[in-house]
């Protein structure tokens, strides 16, 4: 039932709806939706704000955020680990080795990507947007919303980039999630585990299942993108 040690057994589990594999898949989807969702919620407004305002230190802030796009996942994981550790400042919350911890660590990785890409998406259409929006004399928050709406096709790509990062990331979730069976084991950490066990074909099969999941997400997004185009 829980045997996922060969290529065939992983696909048999995938087709038969085996509990263990689907628990891992469910947790992966849950983590990805939460970490990307929070990153978009915080990242879109931040990007829109930075694109439309000028303030001292903006250039520096932009460079820092762009640098954070290359933040190594292990470092992000380590920071969250130290924060949530029993001896850390937030240790009393007992969040380490749980789904929230994984989402926090992934947020650190995805948020800078969303801000940077949103910023450049809006800037690339800034002139056209400015002409239409600012003549309307809307309140500031509505201006931002309109700006984001104008760039929605680009922002969909930003969202997909976030999903991709979240789905494929292993260093941070391994560190703060702990790869606990049935609790924090996601697709990437399961692949890592099978690789360490020497079950290379099972690891590849799990990788294919993960790609299938990514394909599904992209297909849904593209469907919206195309519908919008018509």
């Amino acid at each position: 039932m829980d045997d996922m040690t060969t290529f065939e057994s992983v696909f048999a589990a995938f087709i038969s709806g085996d509990g263990e594999l689907y628990r891992i898949l469910g947790l992966t989807v849950c983590m990805t939706l939460l970490s990307t969702g929070f990153s978009l919620l915080a990242g879109f407004p931040t990007g829109a704000f930075m694109a439309s305002c000028s303030f001292p230190g903006k250039k520096l802030l932009r460079r820092i955020i762009q640098t954070c796009m290359s933040l190594p996942p292990v470092v992000a994981g380590l920071l969250v680990f130290l924060l949530l550790s029993r001896r850390g400042p937030l240790g009393s919350m007992q969040l380490l080795f749980s789904l929230p911890a994984m989402v926090i660590a992934q947020f650190l990785l995805i948020f800078p990507i969303v801000v940077s890409l949103t910023l450049s998406a809006i800037e690339s259409r800034q002139k056209a947007i400015n002409q239409t929006i600012f003549t309307l004399g809307l309140p500031r928050y509505k201006t931002y919303l309109l700006m984001l709406w104008e760039c929605r096709r680009n922002l969909l790509t930003v969202m997909l980039t976030g999903f991709g990062r979240s789905l494929s990331e292993v260093g941070a979730v391994m560190m703060v999630g702990g790869n606990i069976q049935g609790k924090t084991r996601v697709m990437t950490t399961a692949i890592m585990l099978e690789t360490n066990k020497g079950n290379f074909s099972a690891a590849i099969a799990l990788g294919l299942v993960l790609l299938l999941l990514a394909f599904l997400i992209n297909a849904i997004a593209n469907h919206f993108q195309e519908a919008d185009h018509d």
Partner: protein, 314 residues
């Protein structure tokens, strides 16, 4: 504010120089690694070319025909710090270049099966015997042992300290439903743990049994965070003790003996392996020099030896 073209040119030049200064040494390091790992492939085509390359880069006593020996081992052996010391002594006395690849036991043995390693240093008796029986290994040579220990929070909720062997300790932990972190990764340590559960007649399951699927070090960290019990090798326990704050609840007992073996990969199955190099490593490990190094290891740092030598009597 418009700055002159010269200013921008200078600024970019300075940034480029800084970047190159940072990157170049790293590249050189990477190139070195690439040459050494590419060497085995070159050997099969032209042994003479490799020998001359060795003369250029090394000034060691002997000049073996095929200088690269690939040792596949488990993380716990490598992490203890003993292996790097043995590696240095081996390389100095024989002129071989030992490449250590550390993985979980499953993957470590797999590298022997696929011929991606010349010799194994592992600690999972059943898997080792299966490996030799299937013809992938020449012979299993047990050469040293140590003991697993049960570590846990100093409070010792399940009263493991009162137990005399691992089986009764595991029974106490299960009865108290005290948190227990399992490697869950098919490693030698994991297999030893599962064997103890089996002897205790318990199938561990429930919220208290945490199957982590990680290496020894990260699992100890996790046990420290959760104040959980854990079966661990003593060397890794001692090296992480300061961070985890865990105490040894049950020390050396006969049912926690952990035997390490050497196995040369069988050239009949994998013709490309470095037979002479593997034998040189095994000979070295059975020598008096290695015996002394293994028996003394840990005494200076921890006040007690971490490994007990079982190789050929001197």
């Amino acid at each position: 504010m418009k700055k002159s073209l010269l200013y921008h040119a200078r600024k970019s030049a300075a940034l480029t120089v800084i970047f190159l200064l940072a990157v170049l040494p790293a590249c050189q390091q990477a190139a070195k690694v690439t040459t050494s790992s590419a060497a085995p492939a070159a050997v099969s085509t032209s042994a003479a070319a490799t020998t001359s390359a060795v003369v250029e880069t090394k000034t060691v006593p002997a000049k073996p025909e095929n200088p690269i020996v690939r040792l596949s081992t488990t993380t716990s052996v490598n992490d203890s710090g003993l292996l790097p010391e043995l590696e240095k002594a081996f390389e100095n006395s024989t002129g071989y270049d030992l490449e250590i690849i550390a993985n979980g036991t499953g993957a470590a043995i797999k590298l022997g099966e696929s011929g991606d390693a010349d010799v194994l240093l592992v600690h999972a008796k059943a898997s080792e015997e299966a490996f030799v029986t299937a013809g992938f290994g020449v012979e299993r040579i047990p050469f040293m042992h140590n003991y697993f220990v049960i570590a846990g929070a100093p409070e010792d909720k399940a009263k493991v300290t009162a137990c005399t062997d691992a089986v009764s300790a595991f029974k106490a932990i299960a009865a108290a439903k005290a948190d227990f972190v399992s490697r869950g990764d098919d490693s030698g340590t994991n297999k030893a743990e599962l064997a103890i559960w089996k002897n205790a007649g318990i199938t561990p399951s429930g919220d208290w049994y945490i199957s982590a699927g990680k290496g020894m070090g990260p699992c100890l960290t996790m046990a420290g965070e959760m104040q959980a019990y854990i079966l661990t090798d003593k060397a890794t326990y001692l090296s992480t003790k300061a961070q985890t704050g865990l105490a040894i609840c049950l020390g050396e007992s006969e049912d926690m003996k952990n035997t390490y073996s050497l196995i040369a990969v069988n050239p009949d199955k994998n013709p490309g392996v470095n037979v002479k190099g593997a034998q040189a490593w095994i000979d070295f490990m059975l020598s008096d020099q290695a015996r002394a190094m293994i028996s003394d290891y840990g005494i200076k740092e921890y006040g007690e030896p971490l490994f007990f030598y079982d190789g050929s009597p001197s």
